[in-house]
Each structure stands twice: as structure tokens, then as C-alpha cells.
Point group: C2
Chain length 343, copies 2
């Protein structure tokens, strides 16, 4: 298995990306192609004691870099020679089995769609991170599609279910729709219609639809797959992150303030277990679901550990064959022309 990695994307590129890739190649025995400026990659390697490329690791030279301000719609045309575009072309051409980038999210979405292509019948690809919660929970879409139709949300639910079967190893994942209340009458027209489509898919046995879910219940293990429009999915994901960081700060403050400060600090170390459980670096990045091959968006501030997490996730995704599962089940998640008109 061969994983293609954008060595130039992310806040700590290329150093941390290269470091994470080389460590993972050794640890997991996976082949890696690092795409980026060869000189910079080699310099990063040297700083960490690698004088030559380990076996199984290649460099594909790419002089250009897609920065955070690049216009996603123009990236394939304007950054032909970038590590992101070249890496995705290599994936499309079969030079590797999956692609990982910690770079510009919009650019990755747009370039992956243009170059690696959506699975035939899929209207939109969606970002599907694994939420750092007890038993794991997949959010789909976390921000790829700001504007959605009910059919997009139906497809997110079906794709999310197939992905969860493999990624969470759940036979019959519970699929819920993020809404502003649990009752089936809740939501704006988009969410009301999406509810009906998902409910119908549930009745046909295509998914295990468990109804609407509120933000409050997402961490309460009420669903394995949370379907969202990209706007509110993004709000959910980032609010979870912000609240966790905020509470982490309060906890620290409390310990350092109180009389038992040293013991507190000691216990805080035990608290690392919590941190680890809520650490995105352990669980990988956001899978771009709906594309013909696994494409993963790693966190923008990925360090070597996060890159390792994303590589492990990519390996699991390739092995699981979930992209084929989606392809094989496309008929069940596509509205017929007449069904669309009925909406």
C-alpha cells in the first residue's frame, strides 16, 4: 500500500509532515510518497537525523505550494505544479492508494473533485471527521458544502453509514440528522425534507435512521453518524473543539489555584488521558467522502503525531474498501428524476 502525502501543506510543513511520514513508514511498514520541494524535504529530514531516504519512501518533486489564501476554484489551473495538485494527480493515475494534505481545505475539496472525481451518482463530496468522543461518531458534512439540498443530506447519510461500518466497525450504525430539535417537525424546509428522505431510506433498510439529533446529544452517544449541512456541521465541530479547549483551561486554572496545587498537578497528568481521548491527532483527519479514492484533510496545525494518525486512517480506509461500498450502493442513495420533482 502506498500513501501520497502533501509535504508542503499545513502550519508546520514540511518539517512535521515529513517527520510524521517517516516515522509512520517505519512503524506501520507502509510505502510513502512525499510530494513537495525536494530540497526542503531533505533538509527537514536531515535536521531529524535522516541522511538518506528510508526504503519505501519516495520524494516527488513539486516546486509550487498552495497557500491558505489560494482561491479554491482556481487552484488546479493556477497551481498546476503544486504539491497538492501533483499529489492528487498521482492518486488519480494510480501511483498511490490514498492522499493526505494538511493544506488549504477549500482547495483540497475543489482539486480532489476535479482531479480524482466524485463517485458517479454522488452529488457532492463531504468532509467526514471522526468526532473525538467515547465510542467514536462520524460527522458528515463538516464544512465542504455551505449550501445543501435534501438529496445531498440523504447521500451524506448513506455514505456516512457505509463509511462508519468500516471506520467504526459497527454493523448497523445509527444515523441521525443534526437539527434544532428532536421532533420530526423541526427545522427549516431543507432539514424537514432531508428528514423525510432519510426516514424513507431507513424504512427501506438502506440505513438505520434514528431521527433528529440536537447538538446537545451528539456527545451523548445517541448516534454513530451525524448528518449535517456543511454550515451547521462546521459550527458543531468547531464549537465542540472550542468548548473542550475552554474547559481544559478552566480545569488547569482550578488546579493551580487551589491549596493542593502540587497534588493537583500530579492528577493533571492523569488528565492527559482525557486530553488524549479528545485529541484529534490520535484519530486522524477529515475523510473526504464521495471521492473515488480516499482523500484525507489533516488538521491545519498537524504535527508529526497528527500526520501519523492521518496515515493510519488512510491505511484503514484503503483496506476497508469503503469507496467501493459507496460505488456499489449508489442506486439506493440517488433520487429518481420523478422523486426529485415531487419534492
Amino acid at each position: 500500500m502506498k500513501i501520497i502525502i502533501d509535504a508542503m501543506g499545513g502550519d508546520y510543513a514540511p518539517e512535521q509532515i515529513v517527520l510524521g511520514a517517516l516515522q509512520s513508514a517505519k512503524e506501520f511498514g507502509v510505502e510513502i510518497i512525499l510530494v513537495g520541494r525536494g530540497e526542503d524535504i531533505l533538509a527537514s529530514m536531515k535536521r531529524h537525523g535522516w541522511d538518506t531516504l528510508p526504503s519505501g519512501v519516495e520524494i516527488a518533486n513539486a516546486e509550487d505550494v498552495v497557500d491558505m489564501h489560494a482561491d479554491p476554484a482556481e487552484v488546479v489551473r493556477q497551481h498546476k505544479g503544486s504539491s497538492m495538485v501533483l499529489g492528487l494527480k498521482m492518486l488519480a493515475d494510480g501511483a498511490g492508494d490514498a492522499f493526505i494534505s494538511a493544506g488549504n481545505t477549500g482547495a483540497l475539496l475543489s482539486a480532489a473533485t476535479l482531479l480524482v472525481k466524485r463517485i458517479r451518482g454522488i452529488r457532492r463530496a463531504a468532509f467526514a471527521p471522526l468526532l473525538p468522543l467515547g465510542n467514536g461518531c462520524i460527522l458528515i458534512d463538516a464544512g465542504a458544502n455551505t449550501e445543501c439540498t435534501p438529496e445531498f443530506l440523504l447521500q451524506f447519510g448513506c455514505m456516512g453509514s457505509l463509511y462508519a461500518k468500516k471506520a467504526l466497525k459497527k454493523e448497523n450504525p445509527r444515523v441521525a440528522l443534526l437539527n434544532n430539535g428532536e421532533e420530526d417537525t423541526k427545522g427549516d424546509p431543507l432539514h424537514k425534507e432531508a428528514y423525510q428522505l432519510l426516514k424513507a431510506a431507513g424504512e427501506k433498510g438502506i440505513i438505520n435512521f434514528v431521527g433528529n439529533i440536537e447538538g446537545r446529544d451528539v456527545p451523548a452517544d445517541r448516534a454513530d453518524v451525524v448528518v449535517a449541512d456543511g454550515f451547521s456541521g462546521n459550527v458543531l465541530l468547531k464549537t465542540m473543539e472550542g468548548t473542550a479547549i475552554y474547559m481544559g483551561g478552566l480545569i488547569k486554572e482550578m488546579f493551580y489555584r487551589n491549596l493542593f496545587s502540587k497534588l493537583g498537578a500530579l492528577l493533571c497528568k492523569k488528565g492527559e488521558a482525557i486530553k488524549k481521548r479528545m485529541d484529534y491527532r490520535e484519530i486522524g483527519g477529515s475523510m473526504l467522502v464521495g471521492i473515488t479514492k480516499p482523500v484525507i484533510k489533516a488538521h491545519g496545525s498537524s504535527d508529526a503525531l497528527a500526520v501519523r494518525g492521518a496515515i493510519r486512517q488512510a491505511m484503514n480506509a484503503v483496506e476497508s474498501g469503503f469507496c467501493d461500498d459507496i460505488r456499489d450502493n449508489i442506486a439506493a442513495m440517488t433520487l429518481l428524476r420523478e422523486e426529485k420533482h415531487a419534492q
Copy 2:
């Protein structure tokens, strides 16, 4: 000052509502009208040692109760004799200065709009809870309006700013728009247009607009007022709540698991300070902003402490005169006919 309270609304009504009201009447020296089934109210009082009504506390009898399944659109017609409808009528008639209910949220919104009325020029009233974060932060709208226009969001920003000046005692509150990214090009058409309107209001000095905010930064004290459409505002609020509960559980689990379990439990008591800081009961309910007089939605599971918080909040709201501030500044937050057409 006289606060009208729906004694029958909420999971622990009338017992906890009555208890909180009587305690607050004594503690704050405020007059209270309890609206609800007189017998039930008196029975609740007796169970807690009150044999007669304390001075300053009245009962207004209402035989009917609006339950959680009542249709908001029909509540004024179908539940004429309910504690919620009668209480709001009393507020409209000037029998009291503010109204509090822990009952059906949609019904309260609809009945308050019909009976107490929106301030002239305000398109929609919005729920504006104070988020339980360090320096306080007002979210507007938290769920009253699932579908919004850019003008609604402009008005939420202006009303939220006026409310924050009084409720947070900030001279020049920072107003931000909840969006799926910080850049000014982010969002769907609604949020893009709302951004432009809020920016223009900022340039005119009507508000201190600081741009878009992501869910991640809401707890990071980047804004005093977070403007949201009711759908994503609801997702934000409930996700914060759910994540805080989830993390609280992890912390407890960690303490009880580790070797220092007893010391851990001791430290956990110190952790009550965190709980208190994130406890909605201390900070009151959701203000329904845009209505001619203060109307507060208390949390559905309000106990006496939460009722006390809501009463204190109502008193502050009445004293602050923020409803008059909105009335006095309505011209600045209303789009002219030609501006609307230009959209």
C-alpha cells in the same frame, strides 16, 4: 418592580418555580405575581413551610397549562386560560414589568409576539441567552428563527449590542457574526449579505462589528455579542452544553479511576467552581429580545436556583431599560425600502 412568573411551566413546575420565586421575593425584595393553578401553588408552598403568601407575592389563578406538545401557532387561541397566556396578557396590560416562563419555548415566542408585541420596526424577536463563559457573551438568536433574512441578522446584531451594553455593562460591545470561517467571503448567501449589512452598521458607528467568528472562537472571548441565524445559533448553544456535560463526565471518571481517588474526589469539590461558572442557573434564562417588555425563557429543567437567576436577570433588564434603548434606536437598524430592493 413586579415580576410575573408562569408557575406552571417547566419540568419541575409548580414546586421549584414557586420555591425559587418565594425565596427571591425575600432575598431581592421584589414583588412577584405567580400565575397558575392556585391550589397547586399553595400546596407547593405548604410543602416548603409557607402557610400564607408572603407580602409582595400574589397569585393570579389560571386553570389551564400550555404543555410541551402544544402547537405554538395556536396557543393564544387554544389556551386562553393558561398560565402562560394570562401572564403575558398581564404583562401587556401593565400589571407587571417582566414575565418569566420555563414552559414551551415556541409557545412563549409566539404568544409573547402576539400579546406583548414586537417593538415597532423589529422584524423578528430573538432568543438571547448569556453564554456561560468567562466574561459573558450574548448569543442572538439562539433558536427563535429557523429561517432568517440578512435584515433579521442586522437587527439581531444591533439589538444584541444594545442589550449587551446593559446586561454585560460594556460600553462598546464587540459584535461578531457566527459563520463557517473568519474570512469576509465565508458563508452562504444569507451570511455573506448579513456580513455586509453588519459591516455597514459598524462603519456608521451603530455597532462595533468585529467580523465573522467561528464556533471554535466563541469561548475564546473574541466577541461580546455573537449574531446567528436561529438554526446555527441553536446548534452552537446546545453543542456547548453537550460538550461541557461530556467533559465533566470524563473528568469525574478520571478522578474515580485513579489511585488518589479520595484526594481526587476532594479536588472535585473544588471543581464545583467550574461547574458554577458554567451553570446556566446562575446566569438566568434566554431574554426574548425585540419584544416591548422583558420576557425571559427559563431553562425547561429549571429548579429554584435557576428561577432565582431568571428573576435577578428580569430585574436587571427592567432597571436597565434596554427595551426602550431598542425603541429609541430603531431607525438605525431598519433597512429602507430601497436598500432592501438593492439586496
